[in-house]
């Protein structure tokens, strides 16, 4: 009887224990791999902060507004900073705006609920002509200037941002401040339905900030309505925010609804939250450390190496005189 050549020989049959042990090996290897992936995935989920895939919504186009050149000395400084601009993506997805969550990517993710139109800003207090301005009035009455400024957060990171805005002094002049106007107080919108973070207790709401009158009248201080030539994105403080480039970023109050001229120094949110750590003046000062970290260096977003922090964030020539008689260590 001839053997069919295609049929396996009996000597080719896999020994039973080898068959079983290979199956067991495969099963164990499969279980171990699945376990490793589950364990590693769990560790990743616990430790990562969703910094990836943050939507960077396109900012809306600037409506046709009158555009002006900034004063020549400011324009020259702007031009010098042009080559150091921080990417639009970083500027619009790395924000501290606790009204929309505590993570840096939260404002970009969550600020869709903000409604920057219609919007009015009430300017009142120690002045002859208290006025309510619609945001469209502000865009049309004041020619918008491009100002490229350094931006320094108190957390020791920094950016270079091309703002579009107008000098705060122009708005204050328009309402005719009296001699009793010694300070300017700013208030953010207070509406937890638009700003879900305001339902939580991270800070006292609404966010408030303030400047001394001479700081507010300084040509460098602007109210920003846009950046990178487009309307201010929600997460950057639409539709109107303050930019005071020689101070830490938390002074740059966002989504402003009220500006008041006052006689007494106003409360400011971070100073009220932690007076030992955040002062009223908050001038960028590499010689005065934050209690928990140094302010002598900063990380420019996009750079690998840290860099030395500049006194008054590089604007000392223009603003140091405002503080000549002050002890900047005590009045920080």
């Amino acid at each position: 009887m001839a053997r069919d050549p295609d049929e396996p020989r009996s000597s080719d049959i896999t020994p039973e224990d080898a068959y079983h042990s290979r199956r067991i090996f495969m099963r164990n290897a499969g279980l171990a791999t699945a376990g490793a992936v589950a364990f590693g995935g769990g560790l990743w989920a616990l430790s990562s902060r969703g910094v990836d895939g943050i939507p960077a919504p396109e900012p809306g186009p600037m409506p046709s507004v009158s555009v002006a050149k900034p004063p020549p000395d400011i324009e020259a400084e702007s031009k010098a900073l042009e080559k150091e601009l921080t990417s639009l993506s970083s500027v619009t997805t790395y924000n501290n705006f606790y009204e929309f969550g505590l993570g840096k990517g939260d404002p970009a993710r969550n600020a869709g609920t903000l409604r920057p139109r219609p919007w009015s800003v009430r300017v009142e207090g120690e002045c002859n002509k208290p006025t309510t301005f619609g945001i469209e009035d502000l865009l049309s009455s004041f020619p918008q200037e491009e100002r490229i400024y350094r931006f320094r957060c108190v957390e020791a990171w920094s950016m270079v941002i091309p703002w579009l805005g107008f000098s705060l002094s122009k708005l204050i002049d328009k309402v005719e401040p009296t001699s009793r106007a010694k300070y300017v107080a700013f208030t953010t919108l207070h509406d937890p339905t638009q700003m879900p973070g305001q339902s939580g207790g991270a800070l006292d709401w609404p966010y408030v900030e303030g400047l001394r009158i001479d700081e507010a009248m300084h040509p460098l201080a602007i109210l920003a309505t846009g950046l990178y030539g487009k309307l201010l994105p929600h997460q950057n403080g639409a539709p109107l925010r303050l930019v005071v480039p020689w101070k830490y970023g938390f002074k740059g109050i966002k989504s402003i609804v009220k500006i008041a001229l006052t006689e007494k120094p106003p409360t400011t949110t971070w100073n009220a939250a932690a007076p030992g750590e955040y002062g009223f003046f908050a001038n960028v000062n590499p010689t005065v450390d934050h209690p928990r970290w140094t302010q002598a260096t900063e990380r420019r977003i996009g750079d690998l190496e840290r860099r030395k922090t500049l006194m008054f964030n590089g604007y000392a020539a223009k603003v140091a005189s405002l503080y000549a008689s002050m002890d900047l260590r005590r009045q920080f």
Partner: protein
């Protein structure tokens, strides 16, 4: 037969824990290389490495309490792996701080480590982890003797507490995470303390019985 498969199971468990424990590092490196760590990748990577170190240290500290509560033996088999993984991530965290963040600027690092509580607590945590990592092997247990080894490794709880203080000092406003991990550490410590009290009571009462039994 049962013993053999148990050992085999332990080997696979050990491999799974190592592989799983290193997976987040691989993902971090990959994402860093692809530029997917956000606007401040150095801060993000440092924070994540630190948090991974804390989580793995707490998991390692959870092994004995888990055995106490469930009577299972397998947690002890992976306790050393978890601890070493935690130490590894802590070392990477420290290395990133010193080399990448501070650019090996020694005066700045020394200033940080000697004057700022935040960095002091961090440095202390890592320094105290060193002897634990160095004595983690079976050989070390034999060399030191079980009693001394156990005493030394109680330091792990101190490291956990120091790490959580370091974490708390970093937070700007949101204390929920350090509070959570602090509660976990407190729970694990509570289980150990209650167990130690129970065992001491058991020893004391069995001593009395023996004496009473003698006539």
């Amino acid at each position: 037969m049962a013993r053999k498969s148990e050992t085999k199971g332990r080997v696979w468990l050990g491999r799974a824990v190592w592989a799983g424990g290193l997976l987040p590092l691989a993902m971090l490196v990959y994402r860093g290389y692809m530029g997917r760590l956000g606007a401040d990748p150095i801060a993000v990577a440092m924070n994540q490495l630190g948090l991974l170190a804390l989580v793995l240290l707490l998991l390692s500290l959870a092994c004995t309490p888990l055995r106490i509560v469930t009577k299972a033996a397998w947690p002890i088999a992976i306790r050393r792996t978890l601890g070493l993984l935690g130490f590894g991530y802590a070392t990477l965290h420290v290395a990133m701080y010193a080399v990448v963040d501070q650019g090996l600027d020694l005066p700045s690092i020394i200033d940080d480590v000697t004057t700022r509580p935040f960095t002091i607590f961090g440095a202390l945590t890592w320094l105290l982890l060193l002897p634990l990592a160095a004595t983690s092997s079976k050989k070390a247990v034999q060399a030191l003797g079980a009693v001394t080894w156990r005493r030394l490794h109680k330091l792990a709880y101190v490291c956990g507490a120091l790490a959580i203080v370091h974490f708390t000092l970093r937070v700007k406003k949101d204390y929920s995470e350090p509070l959570l991990y602090g509660s976990v550490l407190a729970l694990l410590l509570a289980i150990r303390v209650v167990d130690a009290i129970r065992r001491r009571r058991a020893v004391a009462s069995s001593g009395e019985t023996r004496q009473g039994g003698r006539t």
